[in-house]
Symmetry: C2
Subunit: 193 residues, 2 copies
Amino acid sequence: MANVQEFLNTIENRRTIYNLKPELPEGITVEDIKETVQRITKNGPSAFNSQPNRALILTGTTHKKVWDSVVNAMPTDNAKMRPKACRDEAYGSVIFFVEEKATQKLQSDFAAFAEVFPACAQQSSGAVQIESWAAVEALGLGCNLQHYNPLVRAALPQDVPTSWTVHSQLIFGVKNGEAGAKEFNENPVKIYN
Amino acid sequence: MANVQEFLNTIENRRTIYNLKPELPEGITVEDIKETVQRITKNGPSAFNSQPNRALILTGTTHKKVWDSVVNAMPTDNAKMRPKACRDEAYGSVIFFVEEKATQKLQSDFAAFAEVFPACAQQSSGAVQIESWAAVEALGLGCNLQHYNPLVRAALPQDVPTSWTVHSQLIFGVKNGEAGAKEFNENPVKIYN
């Protein structure tokens, strides 16, 4: 059971870290982050093994350009604060997508279940996003998950397929502070014999 | 990085195991499964910390009754095969839910984003389901994830709140065979600098 406890600890240690520096921890490269996200994306379960998850990583000028575009689209100084922090205080961002063609193929192949497949893709995507978040923090980084989906989509490099829908952005960098307090509901898991 | 590798290994070892015996591995109790699922459910991130995830565990006669009800609702012998295996070859099932009141409250409190919150709950739920699947297999069990959602809902004990929507069923028992071959797409994670 030892590895279960470590797995649960890694899940519990995944917290929202807003206070970041645009650096990587010593000994960690963007290739380590890429390999981590790729293993999780590749192994995420999906309806009929349709494998709808996709991801890419933005760093450097591309990261800055995308987030600058989000800043410029925000209508108020208050609304600009979060994307400005993404642009200026993070080292990079992982963009998570769903390939809509995978869902469309399922809907065509299994028409009787057509209406459930979008939810299947959402659930598969959620697992990949949140497991990646936990794993990248376990590499020693701080992360927060953002959802500026249409604005990010509009600013991405031209070669990202248009059939990929943006689901979230995992903002990462060196931790420059700790997670805030979090309120938990217990929601006990009842056993029925 | 050692614990990241173990985390990724646990994620990669999560596979669909259909061939089960209605037993628990030596040294594992249903309380261990409950604690594992509860820690993951409690710690799942969610939009505005709305914490929509709920879970319960069925074993014994309640598990048999629920799955017998699904078997009886299936129209053909072929369609009855999977729920029969759930009923007869598994030790129990974890039922995953979303509390719809949590989403409705977000939609009321943040009306401008009302249309995105159902997807947020789906993604949060997917992470909790799939992390639980990996963790319960890391306890030494075999599992498969089923989606007989409306039929399971109809057969659940009366005290399960009607505002909880069923998202999936994690079927568990002692492994009586290995996972089948799985085809993987690589879907490389590209880095844009």
